[in-house]
Symmetry: C2
Subunit: 315 residues, 2 copies
């Protein structure tokens, strides 16, 4: 009776792995280091070995496993092809096929890490019970994943869900990592929130508890906490960040129109306070219908990836 | 042998109808007036009667017909439910079910008119040969349709593809019909192009052949023609319009990432000149990958709707 699935989320530093029941119950999770040396040639064999060990410990066999899902930090085309994965040292290829060969031929599917996180949140997280979700992850960068009818929309060139690099601000003077100017990521990532805070602090003479924090150790959490505590300048900063996020949500509602937006990543730890502030501008820029996608918080944290990777197996 | 399908595109003034072979060949097309009086109660019976007459003339029977597709000018939810169709006088309901009852129970599917136009262009128009297209129609307004894996993405609240009402301009002072300010439609619809032209003419002292045209009779075509002829001011106007269109395409590439964008509607009659100008800004704002969705022209004109409506039957 094969009813287990394996979720694997390959990050730049560690590989997260999980063994799941097909109903979404996480039985075991663990991590191994990501060995990037020699063009990342060790990554897949390390994963295969570690999966075999763990299954043995759990008294399971590969024949009990429906398959494995593999999330990688980079674009993946609809067919599972990975054009190149700079973060892992990989050249072009089909890692899913190679991992399958190392695991006695069990089915392996490959997808982008932001996309599997969205699928994971749909399965067992903030989007549970919905079929169409757009997840936005406010972390070091801003990632996105689009799931329609319980399936990842990867895009024909692996660009779908790259919401962090949509243009939101015309008068931006600095360049984003992507080479463009005015990307959502420049404002709404954890890094972006801090940058925004520094700009507000520099251009305003208002008192603020943020001025008591040494500039180089200022975090997005500091800004959110100060705003929640009623610090006027911090409220202005959060308002600015939420203005761009709310507008972006409106844009996504008017193009993809999912059932729910799920907001995750470090910045989302500000919780309902953040959601309420986003909602204000979201409603202001989506005026076609009051019957619009919901906005909620992600629930799986760093495990979203292994959940989604495992969920891919069930299609 | 059922192998025919019927495409019906209900507009505010006329209903367009077509009988197709299942390979996409259009055998017969015709129009009837849209009778909107008495809350549009006559529209579906008129369609049913007209379909029966035409099939009789063609020596076909309803048993030869696989089904009919019905496009309506308003939002339609994923399940074919029409929340309300102000343009037709209809209240809430399932017109597809009712039309089916009037046509001896043949299957009838219902979708939004902009969405069926996109499906039609995918089937036999500018998107032929592709499975994932986003169509943008630059007409009186700006409409949009998203097709992924040969299927319309209608959205959970019927908002998908409402690209014309995404926010593109921060310093817009006038309100859009939707109640928001700075919508793409305000700049890039036929009406928008003319409005833009009037603003440029008023604020600039440059000579222009557009100044020879009586202001109230100025059209988007005049502006496009003047720009193609090298009129400096007209070139600036078209550049401004294409800046917002190009940025919007980049945004769509970074969220949905189709194979191709298909540009239709009256403004698109400017042809490759328009596409080239859009492409410039599209590339500037999508810098993640040079492997990005193509941009092409629609080919079916006003028939796109009946093509797409008929194509819905084949799913």
């Amino acid at each position: 009776m094969s009813r287990f699935c394996i979720g694997i989320d390959v990050g730049g530093t560690t590989v997260k792995l999980g063994v799941f029941e097909d109903d979404g119950q996480l039985l075991r999770k663990w991590e191994i280091p990501t060995r990037k040396e020699q063009q990342g040639v060790h990554i897949l064999p390390d994963i295969a070995l570690s999966v075999r060990h763990t299954l043995e410990e759990m008294k399971l066999d590969l024949t009990d496993v429906l398959g494995a899902g593999l999330g990688v930090p980079g674009p993946v085309a609809t067919d599972g092809y990975v054009p190149r994965c700079v973060n892992l040292g990989w050249g072009e290829g089909y890692p899913a096929r190679d991992l399958s060969l190392m695991l006695e031929g069990i089915p392996v599917k490959c997808a982008n890490d932001a996309n599997i996180a969205a699928l994971g949140e749909m399965w067992q997280g903030g989007g549970k019970g919905y079929n169409d979700i757009v997840m936005i992850t406010l972390g070091t960068g801003v990632g996105g994943g689009v799931v329609i009818d319980q399936k990842i929309i990867a895009g024909r060139h692996g660009l779908a869900g790259e919401i962090g690099h949509t243009h939101v601000r015309d008068d931006e003077t600095e360049y984003c990592n992507c080479g463009s100017r005015g990307c959502l990521e420049q404002v709404a990532s954890a890094t972006g929130v801090v940058r925004e805070a520094k700009m507000f602090l520099a251009s305003s003479s208002k008192e603020s508890i943020l001025r008591d924090i040494e500039e180089n150790s200022l975090t997005a959490k500091d800004v959110m906490d100060a705003a929640k505590a009623g610090d006027e300048l911090a409220v202005e900063i959060v308002d600015c960040v939420c203005y761009y996020l709310g507008r972006s949500l409106a844009q996504l509602a008017l193009t993809i129109d999912p059932e729910i937006f799920v907001i995750g990543g470090g910045v989302s730890k500000a919780g309902q306070y953040l959601i309420d502030n986003i909602q204000k501008y979201y409603e202001q820029y989506e005026t076609l219908s009051e019957n619009r996608p919901l906005v909620g918080l992600a629930k799986l944290g760093n495990d979203a990836g292994i959940y989604g990777a495992a969920r891919m197996v069930l299609d």
